[in-house]
């Protein structure tokens, strides 16, 4: 059966944020514009607005995370919502409760919004399909599939530093195959009109037919980094060295790690991004991570404003 985009209702209003795929540019820009107005809030002494007063937001993390969960929590609190953190890994699921039973219980507690992270691709879609109308689901990362708020905060950061999307070359470097961040970034960048999105990785870290997502594929940093405006470094997980994806982190760093020398290939005003957490000396050299072209810490700051924007729009508030 063909389902319509499960993120939008029949009036094409955003009901859930599950993936960047299939969302119109207007909605992405609306989120970015709303986030701009919240950046001011996060810089004030009193960092709270009452938009979501009385709303219950549940952080439902089936996979451990510190930063993403914390930024969602901060974002919700700054909107005056009540936030509840459920550490599923050590509670219900370990007692045998199923994913959807957990969700039903939260529905019964009158949750207004569920923020979900799960190790399986498609978990957020499953939950969104299952919850009663009126409950909004935000995907905080599902398997290798999507991490839409990360992609949105990356778009926000790019727009802050580069103003426009239509004249950019963006390179995403590293483990594309296992990365939900990369998939969401690719959809967001192409939707927002970036004319050239590149992916750079050894063939073992690229999913098949990745070019069908609208990217140019490179295997050599020296070619792929030429004249790019934005570099996105992806985290390389240690597990990749245990299988046959890569021989060693040393060899990976030599050919795919971002060093000051390789950064010189990019445009002089290029910015360096990383969704975190970083592996210094594996995918990125410390001097680049901490260098003047790095916008890695601003990404984290903007992440709060972007998540505030997503939550307030889902709750029906335009700013």
């Amino acid at each position: 059966m063909i389902n319509r985009n499960p993120q939008l209702d029949k009036n094409r209003v955003l009901q859930h944020l599950l993936t960047m795929e299939g969302l119109p540019a207007a909605i992405l820009l609306q989120i970015l514009d709303t986030a701009e107005s919240f950046v001011g809030v996060t810089e004030r002494d009193v960092k709270i607005v009452p938009l979501l007063r009385g709303k219950s937001i549940f952080n439902l993390f089936f996979e451990p995370s510190t930063r993403t969960r914390t930024t969602f929590e901060i974002a919700a609190k700054r909107l005056s919502a009540d936030v509840f953190n459920l550490n599923i890994a050590v509670s219900a699921q370990s007692k045998g409760e199923t994913l959807l039973d957990t969700v039903d219980n939260l529905s019964a507690m009158n949750a207004d919004m569920l923020i979900v992270r799960h190790a399986q691709s498609g978990a957020a879609h499953l939950i969104a399909k299952h919850v009663r109308p009126g409950i909004h689901v935000i995907n905080a990362g599902d398997g290798r599939h999507a991490h839409p708020t990360q992609a949105l905060l990356d778009m926000f950061t790019i727009r802050r530093y580069k103003q426009q999307f239509h004249n950019l070359r963006v390179a995403i470097i590293g483990d594309i195959m296992h990365s939900r961040v990369a998939r969401s970034q690719i959809h967001a960048l192409t939707t927002l009109g970036v004319p050239e999105v590149r992916v750079i990785a050894p063939k073992t870290l690229l999913p098949s037919k990745v070019e069908r997502l609208g990217v140019h594929v490179f295997h050599d940093m020296n070619e792929g980094l030429k004249d790019v405006d934005v570099l996105v470094m992806l985290r390389l997980q240690k597990e990749r060295m245990q299988g046959a994806h890569l021989p060693s982190s040393e060899e990976y760093f030599k050919y795919y790690g971002l060093t000051p020398e390789k950064l010189l290939l990019a445009r002089p005003d290029a910015i360096v991004m990383h969704p975190g957490p970083m592996n210094r000396g594996v995918e990125i050299d410390s001097s680049v991570a901490d260098g003047h072209q790095s916008v890695i810490l601003p990404q984290v700051t903007f992440g709060i404003a972007v998540r505030m924007a997503v939550m307030s729009i889902l709750a029906g508030h335009q700013v």
């Binding site: 389902n3 795929e21 399986q120 691709s121 290798r144 999507a146 939900r180």
Partner: protein, 424 residues
Amino acid sequence: MNIYIKNGRLIDPKNELDVIQDIYIAGGKILAIGDKPDVFRIDHVLDASNLVVCPGLVDLSVRLREPGLEYMATLESEMNAAVAGGVTSFACPPDTDPPLDEPGLVEMVKHRARNLNQANVYPIGALTQGLHGEHLTEMAELRDAGCIVFGQPNGLLGNLRILMQAMQYASTYGFSVWLSPQDKNLAYDGVAHDGEVATRLGLPAIPVCAETIAISNIILLANEVDVHIHLCRISSAKGLAMVRTARQQGLSMTCDVSMNHIHMSDMDIGFFDSNCHIMPPLRSISDRDALRSGLLDGTIDAICSDHAPVDEDAKLLPFGQAEIGATGVELLLSLTLKYGMEMKQPLVKVLAGITSKPAKVLGIDAGHLSPGAAADICIFDPDIYWKVTSPALLSQGKNTPFLGMEVPGKVRYTLINGKIVYES
């Protein structure tokens, strides 16, 4: 009871018949076709006007989930589903819990099935003990218990020496070996076809070479061992081409395809529809089209339902965690008719793929309407469309990628050994 089936459109692929003729049944067998025999007392009349009368369907893969997996389905529920689908004979794969690797288990299944007095059940014996691929089963003993073929349904054995020995041992007794061509190392943790859809959805992928390398190994081994091989569930254009070549070179090899794979592709996964989590994975549209052509040119012998009822809760999980399988025995006829209509093929040719040809693959005397044959008959209305919904299915498994679709053809009567076992 003597039954007179009148005015039906009789289609018998084996005898290449498609005519309006009457059938006379006595003593559980087809007594005559056409003119009424001189001595025939009519006990019961079935008016088959505007209906098709064809041999009862033969399905090469129906999982009854017994023994061991009764929470998914039971022999009763699935045997009822089979006859509701017009299926009168079927093979059941040995991947039960425990697997069908001991004569006692096979006898139990045969005995339970016989008591239900419905479809003819042909358990496929496990090729190796526990299906672990390490030790051979007692194939001759299993034959005596009721197995007529032997298989390894859960992917290709890692150890090719043992597979070769299993082939040699099976061929000693003239048993054919049924293999599911999927290399386990290449399939690894994959849940979907390695293509654009899996890439987009971030699903671990199974490359086509998991199938082609398995087929290649099987062909090379079968060349060394004089054994008949049946490949279960071909899924790719490349795999099919290899089978075609091997057959042209004289290898004794047959193959089947599931009805899911001739209608669906990985695109149907949509937004993670776990009903599409089946094995082998639904591949690309061009693979699907190649399989359709393979049926036409005869490279593929049979269409099976690959019936695998699954507990509904086990499907209410993220795609990769959802249990593999789809219910199907009640859809085999309809989806075969749908295929035939889409390919503009005559019924007599299309129905061969679910009657005479699978019977030949299984090596049983079934799937035809010759006088003297057991009166296993399916009578269906080809012009009715019905909607696939959970309540419309008798199987305990309600999960199928076809849920919500309108499909052609509804079974009106199913006869086994001259007895009406289903009527709607």
